[in-house]
């Protein structure tokens, strides 16, 4: 009996958190309009959220592309189909790996930083201090960060994808001797703008929205102590990564399932 009660209580608190998360989202979306008059706030966050994630995205993109090239070549060469390597690399990156891996890296790099920053601002009473100065911390602090994350994520995924393709090219053509022209022309012929590229962009937009939302909410809802902030940061990475994979499955099923 007591067990059941505890379970119900926990379930209840999970739902309460979900509800708080959604109210928080509404609140921060409400702050978007006022950002038009203060683009500087967003630009600064674009720098810290987007530009600071560039290094990890660039390096990972190139390596993931190179690995794809190697692995793909080994499989395709058995069927004499190594000319299709370009297609394989491009499609895997555009449809799946680009958005997903970029989102996972973004969650680890920018998401955790956002959570820690906002959690610490809460722990040191900076948010409360702002409230007392009649400044809404959600609008002033959270909204610009959300917009910056939302804009950065698709761009990061695009950069990841493009560099991945070049990484694959580098392995395939100069190293393994795949035909240069075939690599590009097959890719051009088989990668569709709507079916592949647009769907990839939609994915990265969704991931950007979800990861940034989770990161900001975890920070804002953190217990205002050092322990609470460290837990919130961990939760951001875990929950955001799971959310990315979960949404990826749903979106893939919707886009390519039928």
């Amino acid at each position: 009996m007591e067990r059941i009660q505890q379970l119900l209580l926990q379930l209840f608190s999970v739902f309460r958190r979900l509800g708080r998360g959604q109210l928080f989202l509404l609140h921060l979306l409400g702050g978007m309009a006022s950002l038009i008059t203060r683009p500087g706030l967003v630009v600064r966050q674009l720098y810290s959220v987007g530009v600071h994630s560039l290094v990890i995205i660039v390096v990972s993109g190139i390596f993931v592309g190179m690995v794809l090239g190697l692995q793909g070549y080994n499989t395709l060469v058995d069927f004499g189909a190594e000319e299709s390597l370009g297609v394989l690399v491009a499609l895997s990156l555009v449809r799946e790996l680009g958005p997903v891996v970029a989102a996972l890296l973004y969650a680890g790099r920018a998401g955790s930083a956002l959570t820690a920053e906002i959690g610490l601002m809460k722990a040191t009473e900076q948010l409360s201090g702002m409230e007392m100065m009649a400044v809404d911390p959600v609008r002033r602090i959270v909204s610009p960060r959300f917009l910056a994350g939302f804009i950065s994520m698709p761009l990061l995924a695009a950069i990841f994808t493009v560099l991945g393709v070049f990484g694959g090219y580098f392995v395939a053509v100069p190293l393994l001797g795949v035909d240069d022209g075939a690599f590009w022309s097959q890719m051009q012929a088989r990668v569709d703008f709507y079916d592949d590229i647009l769907n990839g962009i939609i994915k990265s937009v969704v991931f950007g929205f979800v990861v940034t939302w989770i990161a900001l909410f975890e920070g804002y809802d953190a217990t205002p102590t050092s322990e609470g902030v460290s837990r919130a940061t961990t939760r951001t990475v875990v929950h955001a990564s799971l959310a990315v994979l979960g949404f990826d499955f749903i979106l893939t099923a919707l886009m390519f399932g039928a």
Binding site: T124, E125, G129, M132, A134, V135
Partner: protein, 285 residues
């Protein structure tokens, strides 16, 4: 941005012209993590008159900071009324609450400076958020406030480069940046050396006179606070246990007030957070 408040002030000063803060039967409990509420206030009555310096004193943990947060509308009372400038704080909607807060300054116990901005930008923050003053005017106003707290030379430092006492003074400069009608000081004197303590005391008094501020000071520093306060409330265990002008309190015969004012270790004021008897706890292992 500043003018309208002054004008509005003139118009709606009918209800209680003299009373800025009026608290009646205030009850409040903190939600503790164990689920059991922590009762802090059992029906507090408190009046703060315009233009006065009112001190709220009491042992650590009685809820002085909590009381300031209640006045600022950050916490909601369990029951009772809190009126500031004729408005009922707990029932205000967000918009009116924020407009009321523009007229209050609060100095946080921890300073609560924004750590990603310089001292200058911290003091400029409320001006930039709430006014559209030209940059040169912002600069002049900020330097003026910083000069008043003796930190004009520290304007380019980051909050992490300040000492605790300096951070408190910067926070004070920020709290008065918008020329509020009332400033709540949470422990303004802790961590100040004797000189800056004297400067701060003088500053609080001067601000009060020249800007016609109302000041609420929460403090443990009995001597300093008594020296500048017009009226003092003593809080303990959720009740007002003493009130009066500093002279009245010093002559007060009650054991509680005497103990607190004189700082004697033994007496009716509990030093310990409520707990079971120590011997019991030691033996009960």
């Amino acid at each position: 941005m500043q003018k309208p408040y002054r004008q509005r002030r003139g118009q709606k000063r009918r209800r209680a012209p003299d009373l800025l803060v009026r608290i009646r039967n205030l009850e409040f409990s903190h939600e503790s993590r164990s689920g059991e509420p922590l009762r802090l206030f059992y029906g507090i009555n408190l009046d703060i008159h315009r233009g006065k310096i009112v001190a709220i004193m009491g042992p650590s943990g009685t809820g002085k900071t909590t009381l300031l947060r209640l006045i600022g509308g950050q916490l909601h009372p369990g029951s009772g009324t809190i009126q500031v400038d004729g408005e009922d704080v707990p029932t205000l909607d967000n918009k009116s609450l924020y407009s009321l807060r523009k007229r209050m300054g609060m100095l946080f116990q921890s300073g609560a400076l924004l750590t990603d901005m310089t001292v200058f930008e911290n003091v400029a923050f409320p001006l930039r958020e709430h006014t559209t003053l030209p940059e040169s005017m912002v600069r002049d106003m900020v330097l003026m406030k910083l000069h008043a707290v003796g930190l004009r030379g520290a304007r380019d430092l980051m909050p992490s480069e300040l000492s605790g006492g300096m951070a408190r003074r910067v926070a004070l400069a920020r709290a008065i940046a918008l020329d509020p009608m009332m400033v709540m000081y949470d422990e303004p004197f802790t961590g100040q050396d004797p000189i800056s303590m004297g400067v701060l005391m003088k500053l609080i008094g001067e601000l009060n006179r020249t800007l016609r501020l109302t000041s609420i000071i929460v403090s443990h520093d009995v001597e300093e606070t008594m020296a500048i306060a017009d009226y003092v409330y003593l809080l303990s265990e959720g009740r007002v246990v003493g009130r009066g002008t500093p002279q009245q309190l010093q002559q007060d015969g009650s054991a509680w007030v005497r103990q607190f004012v004189e700082g004697e270790p033994d007496g009716p004021v509990p030093f310990h957070y409520p707990a079971q008897p120590f011997t019991e706890e030691l033996l009960g292992e």
